[in-house]
């Protein structure tokens, strides 16, 4: 019964996103494409912070590793976009696993700082190898290099539906994960890791798995972004992108499957809307972070779940 309700809710959300493409005006059409790709990054982040209880402040490094692995391969070597997507995702998976082997020896505030420092080092490395990466300015990937079976990735319809497919894949993966026995252990680690150890689980392995999956989704989002929008730049590796992920997830509701896209969608349009009034996004992001921690720590869906919809995954 509850299972059916939640399947209907998530299926319905995907259906709405599918149908929106027939009504959205072109400007919002591109925005939604972008938001769906970035929400995949948010879902990846949420697996770690929302379901495993590990707060990373350096997820931009996984987004960027997928983005650069795919983007540079296409730009310099002429790899086809599909292989580049796989390459970017796998690179991020491997990178996240390597980072996890070191960083997961810490917890809490130390883990936040360690991930932030690793991510900062990556950002600086991208700037350091300026000749290859073109630093902050970034690389524009030519349209000619972004063709799949004769279709150009600049085609908005193709792009929207690819983004939707990616998002649906991430959503289903996340949903299946938290309903699985692995997800059960991850949630328990969030609640009380010490107890989980005494129930006979090698918790480090589970946390590593969560981080690897989280990195995989972040990298897949980064690779898709590079291929769909033809741009790779150091801003995506900067700490700001780690904080965006944090903000989307906190706003939508950490530990809810649909939270990341709701958070990303709201933040995107909130920044859009206020940028008509003030010059910069900073005050919106800053105020949102402060207000969320003060008054709304569970986010939108988290609060809804607490008040009404207990079955919400």
């Amino acid at each position: 019964m509850e299972r059916n309700r939640s399947l209907a809710l998530h299926g319905g959300a995907l259906l709405i996103l599918f149908l929106l493409q027939f009504v959205l005006p072109p400007y919002h059409y591109t925005n939604f494409t972008r938001i769906m790709v970035l929400a995949v990054y948010g879902i990846g982040y949420n697996i770690l912070i929302g379901y495993t209880g590990l707060l990373s402040l350096g997820h931009a490094m996984f987004l960027a590793s997928g983005m650069y692995a795919a983007g540079l391969a296409v730009h310099y070597i002429g790899v086809d976009p599909v292989s580049a997507f796989v390459l970017g995702s796998v690179a991020a998976l491997a990178f996240a696993t390597a980072v996890g082997l070191v960083a997961l020896r810490t917890t809490g505030v130390s883990f936040m700082i360690v991930t932030m420092m690793f991510s900062q080092a990556c950002y600086l490395l991208i700037l350091y190898f300026n000749e290859v990466t073109r630093g902050d300015e970034g690389i524009a990937i030519s349209e000619a290099a972004r063709q799949i079976a004769g279709f150009s990735l600049t085609n908005p319809i193709l792009r929207y539906n690819l983004a939707l497919a990616l998002f649906a894949g991430a959503l289903i993966l996340c949903y299946a994960l938290i309903r699985s026995r692995v997800g059960r252990v991850l949630i328990a680690i969030r609640e009380n890791e010490e107890r989980v150890k005494m129930l006979g689980y090698h918790t480090f392995r589970y946390k590593l798995l969560a981080l690897a999956l989280s990195g995989l989704l972040s990298g897949a989002a980064g690779a898709s972004y590079a291929l769909m929008f033809g741009y790779v730049g150091a801003t995506f590796a900067a700490i700001e992108y780690s904080i965006f992920a944090l903000l989307w997830v906190l706003l939508g509701g950490a530990g809810t499957v649909l939270g990341p896209i709701i958070g990303a969608l709201l933040m995107f349009y909130l920044v859009e809307w206020t940028s008509d009034v003030t010059e910069s996004y900073r005050i919106v992001v800053g105020a949102a972070l402060v207000l969320l921690t003060l008054f709304f720590p569970k986010g939108i869906l988290g609060t809804l779940r607490e008040k009404r919809l207990r079955w919400l995954p």
Partner: protein
């Protein structure tokens, strides 16, 4: 094969800075017995069982379980061998339902030695969880979040989690603390039932419970074993009287 004891510690010690909490303890258990450890606060009881269950690493000495050295094994590996510890302070997963709490334990028992991607038999899991909840009579509260249970029931839930792990050695650290008289009676019945398939090591302050349950009693004081024997022997022991009971 009687020479191989079920659990055995040799010269087991644990120091915290300058303080020696457990000092060269030789301790052994027979399979199937119910053993109580008693002693004043600070005697080293919790430290000893923490080393046995793997929560604390010993400073010195060795632990053998069913003939194998487990001194350096991490806690999860000990659970896999059947050593299960229940916490002194109730530590159920407060935000999860009773079912989820026990399911975590049950799925561990069902998936031991299997690869992580190995599918779990949901029916077997559900029956194992329900079975454990039935034994502690919490099966009707399966969907209740643990935090909403009264304290005594939380302790029972904790016990159900341990049962679902199918322990060979169940370590209970002050299990009756904070329970009412009626709850304690029920609890003692349960422990007796569990003892049919498991060895039980019990730290307990309530002497009525100890006398009721224990087949043998170990008395600890200042990090060492002061005396060991049947309840009758311990009650008669002058040294124990002086150190602990007689005060």
């Amino acid at each position: 094969m009687a020479a191989v004891s079920f659990l055995e510690t040799k010269a087991l010690s644990r120091r915290f800075g300058g303080l020696t909490a457990v000092d060269g303890v030789d301790f052994s258990l027979r399979a199937g017995e119910i053993r109580a450890i008693i002693g004043p606060n600070g005697a080293g009881k919790t430290t000893l069982v923490s080393m046995i269950s793997g929560r604390l690493a010993p400073s010195d000495g060795a632990i053998r379980f069913e003939g194998t050295d487990i001194t350096r094994l991490p806690p999860w590996a000990r659970v896999a061998r059947g050593i299960v510890y229940t916490f002194q302070i109730t530590s159920v997963f407060r935000n999860l339902s009773c079912f989820e709490n026990v399911a975590l334990a049950a799925q561990r028992a069902l998936t031991l030695g299997k690869a992580p991607w190995h599918a779990i038999d949901q029916a077997a899991l559900a029956s194992s969880v329900t079975g454990a909840l039935e034994r502690v009579q919490l099966h009707e509260r399966s969907d209740t979040p643990a935090a909403n249970l009264p304290y005594g029931h939380q302790r029972l839930l904790e016990l159900a989690m341990s049962l679902a792990l199918k322990p060979k050695l169940l370590v209970l650290d002050e299990p009756t603390q904070g329970l009412s008289e009626a709850e304690i009676t029920h609890f003692c019945e349960l422990v007796r039932e569990i003892a049919d398939d498991a060895t039980i090591l019990l730290i307990e302050h309530n002497m009525d419970v100890v006398m009721e349950l224990a087949e043998r009693i170990t008395v600890m004081s200042n990090g060492a074993i002061l005396a060991e024997g049947t309840p009758a022997e311990i009650t008669a022991d002058a040294a124990v009287q002086q150190a602990y009971l007689g005060a």
